[in-house]
């Protein structure tokens, strides 16, 4: 219960700025409700007074009253609805913005568990549900109740006896409605589960279609599809038929009520206990009040859903942001909160972000889950200007080292220092500005090429961007496009080849002009020409910089000053290429294998594999593809744990 109060309180914070608007809408709502009660009353007057007494002038008066009341009602309704909807949209936008900026500041760990697809539904669907609750449910509920009470009052005033007859059936209807709604909820849940089974089936079989064809599995898979389809049909029929029965029983109840009222009301009218106008009013009201009953029972559902949505929203908002999360991890006393971090200024002095001397890993260990160590006792030093390559099997902890260095994760043991300062004592922003990170998976953002290189940071001038692009051999590619740097990046960067994306990420690193290059080399292969461009660009961005590279390509490895060989989270060898080959140990084995995979991956690239495409394009709307995308994203961020898991399973 206290949870509920807390929810309401937080919700209220968002509503507060629009309070006057909302009150205005509520006042209008009350007016609209009472005016819409007036219609049948005027008709009653027309019948009982004007027509009964043959007053032409009365009819004119009634008609004028009628149209005046209705016009007023329509006008009020228009303003009320518009105000309410506008407020709804505004509040929803506020919540979305707040959610977005909060999620943006959450630690990386959060994103591994919550792939982008899931976050969209958090930000998008949950807020929409909440808005529905606000603009539709709460308000219609209020209006319906108001109208209902009003109608009862009028009817009661006109004829208590007849009102009792109306009330005879209603309680049963209410009880039935609530019972059926509950049943409907469970039935629809089964149906929706079945629907997602179907879409899961579809995406799996579409992706494995070549396999299906190779084994003549088409007919069997069609049968399976048919079976899934049948089940989906069955569950949906089961759920929707109940809804149909429910709606029609309301029709039946209406017929029953009307019959009762007309029977008793009719005999009362014959006995002059009741005027005909009153009877007509009863008919009008009864026909009006059945709709709200259907709505009322439906709204119970929406309220439930909205509560869940609200809980999820505020759960996210209470998650700790990266800064505070890390502070707590390090048990550093809370510094005064600097919300100014959000402003787009580079207020830190260049001295703070420049790199002067060395990076030292001193006996560093790390574990994602607190149990299994992904890195243990890792110590090494990188001097300014050095080119260091990290090599090792999948799961050996190469990528983890990069994550720790940029503090996407906090190491669990040992010490990492840059120029003698513990990175835990640095401001996160200052730390990260020392690095230019280039990842395997190049992410392109919607927008122009220009903005993609400088990541919307306008303190980097256009000429600087152009210079950077030129330096990484990208200028030709870009200029070939019709609009050059102003070219819009298509959805998921589909108008850029893999090679171009690689180069773009290099340009990004160069434009930001950080002192240390941190690179997780792409394993995907490109055509030999682009490959040469990439290698050349890589050399250029390494020039004059310190670089730490998780290396997959032989040329990169061989060109390094020093190679650190990792195995199962430990450094097993380190030295230059020649030294290590001479050792005839881990490195040599790895080097051989690398040559193989180098060749193999190029071979794979040559064979057209449709799956490559389908997976990366995987439907944003579709749950399984989302999972797959999320999974692949997780693996890039967290290659090491995934690898470790696999290794555990392998015999």
């Amino acid at each position: 219960m206290s949870e509920l109060i807390r929810l309401k309180k937080e919700l209220f914070n968002f509503i507060k700025p629009y309070l006057s608007n909302i009150i205005f809408a509520i006042v209008l709502l009350v007016i609209v409700s009472s005016l819409s009660l007036a219609g049948p009353i005027i008709i009653k007057r027309l019948i009982d007074v004007d027509i009964a007494n043959g007053l032409y002038s009365g009819i004119w008066l009634s008609a004028a009253m009628y149209i005046a009341v209705k016009l007023a009602m329509l006008a009020c309704n228009y303003f009320q609805m518009y105000t309410l909807q506008r407020v709804g949209v505004s509040i929803m936008c506020d919540i979305k913005l707040k959610l977005f900026s909060h999620i943006l500041r959450l630690p990386l760990k959060y994103f591994e568990k919550n792939p982008a697809g899931k976050l969209i539904s958090r930000i998008e669907s949950d807020t929409e549900t909440l808005r529905q609750l606000f603009t539709n449910t709460v308000m219609t509920l209020f209006q319906d109740l108001l109208m209902f009470a009003g109608m009862l009052a009028v009817m009661f005033y006109l004829s208590a006896k007849l009102t009792f007859i109306v009330l005879l059936i209603l309680p049963f209807l209410f009880a039935g409605a609530f019972y059926i709604q509950r049943e409907l909820r469970t039935r629809f849940k089964t149906a929706r589960d079945k629907a997602s089974m179907v879409s899961k089936f579809l995406s799996e079989y579409i992706q494995g279609m070549q396999c299906v064809q190779a084994f003549n599995y088409e007919d069997a898979s069609k049968e399976k599809m048919d079976r899934h389809n049948d089940e989906k049909k069955g569950t949906f029929y089961f759920a929707e038929v109940l809804e149909i029965i429910f709606h029609n029983s309301i029709l039946l109840a209406e017929a029953l009520t009307l019959s009762f009222v007309l029977y008793f009301g009719g005999s009362m009218a014959l006995n002059k206990e009741l005027t005909i106008g009153t009877l007509v009013l009863f008919i009008g009201y009864i026909r009006q009040c059945f709709e709200p009953i259907i709505r009322l029972s439906e709204q119970f559902n929406i309220i439930q859903k909205a509560r869940v949505a609200a809980e999820r929203i505020f759960e996210i908002l209470t998650l700790e942001t990266e800064e505070s999360y890390i502070k707590e991890l390090d048990k550093i006393p809370d510094a005064p909160a600097d919300d100014e971090k959000q402003t787009a200024s580079t207020d830190c002095a260049p001295a703070e972000i420049s790199f002067k001397d060395s990076i030292v890993f001193d006996n560093v260990s790390f574990s994602y889950d607190g149990e299994r160590e992904v890195l243990s006792g890792v110590s090494f030093k990188v001097n300014k200007g050095e080119k260091v390559a990290l090599v090792g099997h999948t799961g050996s902890g190469k990528t983890t080292i990069l994550s720790l260095l940029l503090r996407f994760y906090s190491h669990t043991g040992g010490k990492i220092t840059i120029d003698g300062t513990d990175i835990r004592e640095m401001k996160l922003e200052n730390l990260r500005k020392k690095f230019a990170l280039v990842l395997q998976d190049v992410v392109l953002f919607p927008g122009r090429v220009m903005d993609n290189i400088r990541l919307l940071n306008e303190s980097i001038s256009e000429s600087e961007v152009e210079k950077a692009a030129g330096a990484v051999n990208m200028l030709d590619f870009i200029m070939k496009k019709e609009k050059g740097f102003q070219t819009e990046v298509a959805e998921r960067g589909s108008n850029f080849s893999m090679g171009e994306r690689q180069l773009l990420s290099f340009a990004r690193a160069l434009a930001f002009n950080s002192d240390i290059l941190v690179l997780d080399e792409a394993t995907s292969s490109v055509d030999p020409y682009t490959e040469a461009l990439i290698q050349d660009a890589l050399l250029k961005i390494q020039a004059g910089r310190t670089s730490i590279i998780v290396a997959h390509r032989l040329s990169t490895i061989i060109n390094s000053d020093r190679i650190i060989v990792l195995e199962a989270g430990k450094i097993v060898e380190s030295g230059s290429h020649k030294e290590l080959l001479a050792l005839n140990g881990h490195y040599k084995k790895l080097y051989e294998k690398q040559r193989l995979t180098d060749a193999k991956s190029k071979n794979d690239g040559a064979a057209l594999d449709p799956r490559e495409d389908t997976e990366s394009d995987g439907g944003r709307l579709e749950p399984v593809a989302l999972m797959a995308a999320g999974f692949s994203q997780t693996t890039t961020l967290n290659e090491d744990t995934a690898g470790a898991q696999k290794m555990q399973l392998a015999e």
Binding site: I59, I67, A220, R432, L596, A606
Partner: protein, 575 residues
Amino acid sequence: MNQFKWIINFWRPYKLRAALIIFLTFVYGGFAICYPLIFKFIIDSLNANAAAGGVVKFVLTLFAAGTLMAITYMTLQRNRLMMNLTLEKDIRNKIFDYLTRFGSNFYQKFGTGDIVTRLMDELEQLCHLSSSGIFRLLQVILTLFFTIGVLMALNVKLTLLSTLPLIMVFAFYIICDKDFFTKSRAMRDAVSAVNDAIETCFSGITVVKSYCCESYQKQYFDAVMEKRRSSELALIKLEQKMELIYGFMSQVGMFVIVLYGGIMVLNKEITLGTFVAFSNYIMVLAGPLMELGWFLMSFRKGFVTIDRLMEVEKETPQIIECYNPADANFNAAPGQTLISFSNLSFSYGDEFALKNLNFDIKRGEKAAFVGGFGSGKSSVLKLIMRFFDADDGELKVTGENIKNLKLKSVRDNIGYVPQDCYLFSDTILENISFGRAHEKRELENALAAAQLNDTITTFRRGLEEEIGIRGLSLSGGQKQRVSIARALLKSPKLLLLDDATSSLDNKTEDSFWDSVSEKYPDVTVIFASHRINTIKRADRIFLLENGRITTSGTFEELSRNSEAFKKLLQSENNE
């Protein structure tokens, strides 16, 4: 109109049910309009101070009509619902049937997510429209006609005067429709822009964080959001305006009835009952008119969906069987040619993969294709599987051109293990048997040869163990072996291994080859590989370079005579 024909085709098997639905719609239409008429008779008899018995008779009629209406409507709705769901199922099955025939060229054009969206949400909406939608439209039109008919019978003049403003509602709706369409389109675009922004920002969060550009992302999101907000408000404003005008028009109709109808009652032109009937009808009339406009819009949307589904159907399968194909014969006598390539060339679009290939593989032979990256090894195997057809030259199976053979019978005889083996989220057994009826012994042989027995025992449920999406819970080597077992279970005449033992260690691989020779003595094997351990198993080796066979021979011959082969061995073996 093509779209219309398309959907009618799916209705064809259900003519009877369609007739029933139409019949029920008429019956319901009749019942639906009788309330106000009965009110009229009751009021009139009350007004005339008739005997109580007269009123009772009408009340009973009302109750009977109401009950029958509810029952008819329930039956009608159930039938419409049944057809929504049936059509959905039929269409999805049919499109899936197409999907099983398409090759990689199709799947490169349409992404998985795209196809799934078309077949799920869009299809659901379309089918709702194709049954419930169409017949609701009929229901609405009938209601309109019946109502106006009754009104006309009651009083022509009052009918014309009171319904005129309502017709204008419809006209107004059509005028607004286009505006509405563009505005709602703009809003949908704005919504997907917001989604895109969220998606890219959060899937690229590492980049965002490492370059410290959170604030710029937020600014961008703010801008996108603002656009969405304004487009949504524009739409809301239009909607409310439409609602206002529509409400106004229907109230004008009511005003006419109150004023003119009232006067007519006093002039004894109509009875009081007729007046009440009119006021009740006019309220019912407004709803259907509003709905008509709605139908216009949703039918347009439905047509777009049909177009998108037809687009899928229009694609041609990559492989088209010839007319009256023959069954493939893989029973060449031992030592006779089973597979032969003559002057065969093949390309993926512009980029050629194989050029002028000539070779014969004999029944029972183990042939290896080796070569550097992009040399075309996989393509050779894919051509034998007939995933693609050659551009030039011939591929023959026991002397018969593969193009004249039944696709199924070719693939049935081949056990193919691709480089990247696809496993489905099902049990291990189902992944191996793949719906194929098999004897126990066959399964045992396949499991043993694929070296899977030890692995299976580590699973709690053995062969019934569920493996996750794409075999998530298995290691690379395990996946490969499941995939090998799947190929062997067919007791294939020809085994194609596309680098299929790459994740096995040498010892496991040796036992694999040994048990294949032991358990499948007649099988012909063609494989592509890098590993010396694997290549050594071949009776004959073909060296591919840039899509051409440069040399062939036994392992010893090649390692003696071919410089290129030696070089390749060296790079594989490393000094």
